[in-house]
Amino acid sequence: MSDLETFRAETRAWLEAHCPESQRQPILKREQIWGGRNRVFPSADAQAWFEAMADRGWTAPSWPKEYGGGGLSIEEAKVLQQEMARLKCRPPLYEIGIWMFGPALLAYGNEAQKQEHIPKIVKGEIRWAQGYSEPGAGSDLASLKTKAEDMGDHFLVNGTKIWTTNAHKADWIFCLVRTDPSAPKQQGISFLLIDMASEGVSVSPIELISGESEFCQTFFDNVKVPKENLVGELNKGWDVAKELLKHERTLMSSMESMSEKEDFSLLELAQQYLSLNSEGTIEDGEIRSRIAQLLMEMEAFEQLNERMFYQYKAKQVDQRLGMLLKHIGTKQLQRKDELILEVLGNKALSWTAPTANQQEHIVTRNWAFNKSHTIAGGTSEIQLNIIAKRALGMAS
């Protein structure tokens, strides 16, 4: 057996032994485990599964072992992912720290910062929020105004961040702040880590069309931040931000496949809600054809990801392909949501009515929430700008 096959066999056996049956069922949003000082486990099984994974560093499978990560090669990490998918294991941890901040800190943080923050992310002890956008700085992020003044032994931060997802539950926030107001836009920005418990930090939630209020506006009023919380060089925060954004976009593009597992599949809902003819196929040819069309494209998206994986392995990466993922993935996800709504008919229209069941309510709220995917992490229009200019080389 090759090393990879041995690893697969061992991983499969280990997952079989350590993933409780209850953790192999589709996960509901309220059952997700997020990191944090105040984290709660929805059940003993969930806690056991989380702890087993965190102990191995498999909440962050490919991060270096020295910081508590799994230390897996990308091939091994893919095997782990495949085996987890095969057993339908729930993701053990949902955390911005894992998805975006950790990889950027590993690339740009100093040794002390990595020692301090990475192990806590792996173990789900700290929950991170992202402080980029401001009321006046969205797509044009570099126009941000929140300022950090050098006061000798600390930075003094003043300003406000908006759309900070889950800031009200977060322990720490990583922020882009202006440290040189006289420099050209991108060059006066630094990347700063701020403890949400610091004096002068306040948060007010914003209600969304999905009924949730995960979003917040976060205010900084004369907040003192230690100098050692600067990541990368002073005024070079834009580089860190770009590194992080890469991971954010990859994540956003895979939300599609994530939600397919966590929520409900279009295929199953179609079979459940639409009239079938005697052979078990969907009677209405028109909607059947539109479902097939989308599923073909979604399959092609997986194939695109697979192609990129093999390119990476063969060291023949076509950089242009990575620029396509966010836009394609999020657009497909929204098309899927729209089709699901259509398939459910008036069963998808209830907000709280007792005539609809839990599945139907979740589907509807997902549809509303997922409108955010083409906005967050760089809007689709911005993605198309990037593709046109950088992938196709169109003049600007």
Binding site: T281, M296, Q303, L304, R307, F309, H327, N385, A395
Partner: protein, 363 residues
């Protein structure tokens, strides 16, 4: 999912050769001679000398055993320059049909000749207005073949014509004709400048059957191979069109700026590129499955449906973005536009393949 070293080299060789020897203008010459050959015979000989027909065939039959992925690499290149070749009709389809359905004796008789380029073959599949092998009516019963075929590629040039028919019990079967002498034919040129034939069989006797017994699955698999081969060619065409369009937008100025600076055009090009890479991924995935010996029924339908839509969309956009020049015959854009529509119908349009895909996934 990606080309290995050998396949990449093959692709580079094919590109260099085609760039030098097969400009799109070649197609104009073929088009100007409606009675002339379906493809440039001399050019084909050169491709034979490069070993192209042998690429995917197993070594025991004189092939190179590089797998179909190598053929996909070449087809992408012929597609880029609209090069007419018997790669789809003979190399992908006829050779696969013989390999999958033929008896050992038939395989040794024909495959080495196909691999060496001594022989080209074609397959008569389509009947009626839309491709659908399930509704084939050509009949093979009591030793006689009767029925009509349309859209047969490269028939005049082929030394062997395989005909897909239904036998007395309604199962698909394949007949092999060494000559079309006793067959009524009409040869015509379609809008893409390529030549096709209609064949009419009226109780034709004395034909040889390919293989023994019922081989429905094998016949379908050979058709799937041809389907993805054509899809690979189509991706090449769409890719070339997108490149030509972006090039044009970067050159042409209006309102004192390059057209490429207009965001409305940038976004449309970006969308085309997304569609192209999705379709390409589906095609590469189908070839990968094929070379792994896995079933490709679903993959072929997915790949062809997406390639159809991609080529059709990109060709429409390319015409539009070239402005008035886009609808002149002087520009090559129109040749791609027309080719895309012919390709759409060959081996099934998007509607056919979407339905077939739906069946495969059980909806």
């Amino acid at each position: 999912m990606i080309f290995n070293e050998e396949q990449s080299m093959l692709k580079d060789t094919a590109r260099a050769f085609i760039e030098e020897n097969a400009p799109v203008d070649n197609l104009r010459k073929l088009r100007a001679a409606p009675e002339g050959p379906a493809y440039d015979l001399e050019l084909w000989q050169q491709l034979v000398e490069l070993g192209i027909p042998a690429v995917a065939l197993p070594e025991e039959y004189g092939g190179l055993g590089f797998g179909f992925m190598g053929l996909a690499a070449v087809l992408g290149e012929t597609g880029r320059n609209l090069v007419a070749t018997p790669l789809v009709s003979s190399v992908a389809l006829a050779a696969s049909l013989i390999k999958l359905v033929g008896t050992e004796e038939q395989k040794s008789r024909w495959l080495p000749a196909l691999a060496s380029g001594e022989l080209t073959a074609t397959v008569a599949v389509q009947e009626g207005r839309h491709y659908n092998p399930k509704s084939i009516e050509t009949k093979w019963a009591n030793g006689a073949l009767s029925g009509s075929k349309t859209m047969v590629m490269d028939a005049q040039e082929a030394g062997l014509v395989l005909v897909i028919a239904k036998n007395a019990s309604g199962a698909l079967c394949v007949l092999a004709l060494n000559s079309l002498e006793d067959v009524e034919q009409e040869r015509y040129m379609l809008m893409d400048g390529r030549k096709f034939s209609d064949l009419h069989f009226r109780d034709l006797a004395g034909v040889e059957e390919l293989g023994e017994g019922e081989q429905v699955a094998s016949v379908e698999q050979a058709l799937d191979i041809a389907t993805i081969a054509l899809a690979a060619e189509m991706i090449g065409g769409a890719e070339s069109l997108l490149e030509r369009t972006v090039y044009h937008l970067n050159e042409r100025e209006q309102f004192d700026v390059k057209l490429a600076t207009f965001q409305a055009l940038q976004h449309r090009c970006a969308e085309m590129y997304c569609q192209l890479e999705l379709a390409r991924s589906a095609v590469l995935s189908a070839f990968t499955r094929l070379d792994q010996g896995r079933n490709i029924a679903k993959a072929a339908s997915q790949a062809k449906a997406l390639a159809n839509e991609c080529y059709q969309h990109i060709s429409n956009e390319a015409v539009q973005m070239h402005g008035g020049m886009g609808i002149t015959d002087e520009l090559d854009i129109g040749l791609y536009l027309k080719r895309s529509r012919v390709c759409n119908q060959l081996f099934g349009d998007a509607n056919f393949h979407r339905k077939r895909y739906a069946l495969q996934i059980g909806i």
